[in-house]
Symmetry: C2
């Protein structure tokens, strides 16, 4: 069973995969997976995954057979296991617990070769519905405290299978990074009596220089302190702290905006590797005036190096105001600026 271990200094938990432990040779450059070959996520290969926990499919088709356009299955090689008790224990000065949790794969399309950016806004909205439906189901398990919904696109962003898919990992603890965001937003609220994300939306709409697009429900912006070049956030314009409570209209607006953003990034950044993550409340809460769910999209255009690892400080070589201009449809018309890479 995987083990959760806590760093005694920083308080960060990690998942130690004890059962499928890798030998050094598994990391050698020659061990890179080859492309192509059999794909368990394609239509017709349903028996090669664990049985589906959700699918959107044509009426009359059977579960675990073709006919679906969205399919959610448990990960065949999960980082965490769904059975078992928490089993919190000490080991001398250290703390650990059993690696319980859920790890699911959201297969975004039956078509192996179409990424989200190649589909359409409607299909992206279907993916969002699946995220929401699974979130509602997972929070019923009282042992689970938080679920991270995320996507890795491209090998450099951590994807190991090419077929378009996202993932959901539900955890028995609230991660440090999530707690920090909640605490930071709460501190702002204590001081201002306003939601920091709502304030951000208002200031950005007024300033205009970091708003990429907006539609009825969603604002797409380059954050003021973007960590990475072309980091982009999608925020619901109406205050809401819990992603599970997304409305039908918001699903459609978010689908349109996410599709548009991924398509534009693919165009101007040469199909970049990217991650997106849904930031939302832990399962232990359903509402917070100080917090605001949102999606963060980060293309992986540069490497995270020693400086970032050691300090948590990032060096961003494309100011968010520039990224905004490039991302807007007329981005191609702006004047060229000299390109250069800060040494090493």
């Amino acid at each position: 069973m995987p083990e959760l271990r806590k760093d005694p200094v920083i308080g960060r938990w990690v998942i130690i995969a004890t059962e499928r432990a890798k030998r050094p040779s598994a990391y050698a450059k020659s061990a890179e997976q080859k492309k192509g070959g059999f794909c368990p996520f394609c239509a017709g290969c349903e028996e090669h995954t664990p049985p589906e926990v959700l699918s959107y499919r044509s009426p009359g088709t059977e579960r675990n057979t073709p006919g679906w356009w969205i399919r959610v299955v448990p990960n065949k090689f999960p980082a965490l296991q769904i059975e078992g008790p928490e089993n919190r224990v000490g080991e001398g000065m250290y703390d650990k617990m059993s690696g319980i949790g859920a790890h699911e794969v959201v297969i975004e399309t039956p078509d192996h070769n179409k990424s989200l950016a190649d589909l359409d806004a409607r299909q992206v909205s279907e993916v969002i519905w699946a995220f929401r439906d699974r979130m509602i189901e997972l929070r019923k398990d009282p042992r689970l405290r938080f679920a991270m919904i995320f996507k890795n696109h491209g090998r450099d962003a951590g994807a190991s299978l090419d077929h378009p898919h996202s993932q959901i990992i539900a955890l028995p603890v609230v991660p440090k990074r999530v707690q920090e965001e909640l605490d930071g937003a709460q501190m702002y609220h204590n001081f201002k009596e306003r939601c920091v994300f709502c304030d951000m939306i208002h200031q950005e709409q007024k300033d205009g220089v970091r708003v990429v697009w907006e539609n009825n429900g969603i604002l797409c912006l380059s954050p003021f302190a973007a960590r990475l070049p072309f980091e982009t956030w999608l925020l619901p314009k109406a205050h809401g702290s819990c992603f599970s409570e997304i409305t039908k209209n918001q699903v459609l607006d978010l689908g349109e905006m996410l599709y548009r953003l991924l398509r534009r990034m693919k165009e101007i950044l040469d199909d970049p590797p990217y991650n997106f993550m849904i930031h939302t409340l832990p399962f232990t809460e359903t509402n917070r005036v100080s917090y605001h769910w949102h999606i963060e999209v980060i293309p992986k255009l540069s490497r995270t190096a020693g400086f970032e690892w050691g300090t948590g400080f990032y060096i961003n070589t494309t100011p968010p105001e520039d990224a905004t201009v490039y991302l807007r449809e007329n981005g191609a018309q702006i004047e060229e600026v000299p390109s250069g890479s800060p040494a090493s």
Copy 2:
């Protein structure tokens, strides 16, 4: 001038490089730098870098000419600039300041093709002396609050130049990640009245399963809650909070241990990309009973993906106890375990 900006929720500062801003095409896959060609860090090319701020060189040789074995120069394309005032200002709800600071390159050898793992313990100790000498110099500037000494080896670990070098970035603020480590260690000390790192050293020496090697002054261990496969820490066995106060014997012991570790990683992990970072006190302090300087070495064998970005939680596919066995000299003799990669 570069700009420091603060995230209004998390409180994390980022450096926005406004002057050498990159266009989207600079990130395209086709824009990858080619290997080979002219190298400004090689002996004989001294005029292609800014003038040296430190060198260890043969008696009778002139500054900024060959004859050196270690050379430290300001980065030609610095992330931060050394001149100017702090200039802290607000921009509506946001906070920013001028990007002042120092950014230096430690050229570790005149030989373009020899990495630290190809040199010897003595030369690695010389690199450590250079780190220490520069640290002492940089902390004299009252505007600077912290310096991160780090190395990026290999493109996947963020290196953009092949010639062996490390970097020093001195900042006008104490980074969040550093403050968290100080605070975590302080909390432990408040509770136990002992240094958490000293406790770790004692428990690891007793347990034995995560100690890779030790010599007189330095313990080399796989941390209990290692974030990444083969993450390894080097700690001085005697309590000390400030890297600048490293003793001569410790420099030699650390040089031997760091050389041995990098060499062993190169052997068993196929010359992996890696980072190392020196964790030490901010400039505003010289001594803390609760803190203990150390070096963290992290090979970059897997990609940081959406889950890690969103949660700060890591999934480590090689338990530190296994990594310890592989890293010890007899590692090759242990039985093979099945290698497999957790899906996606």
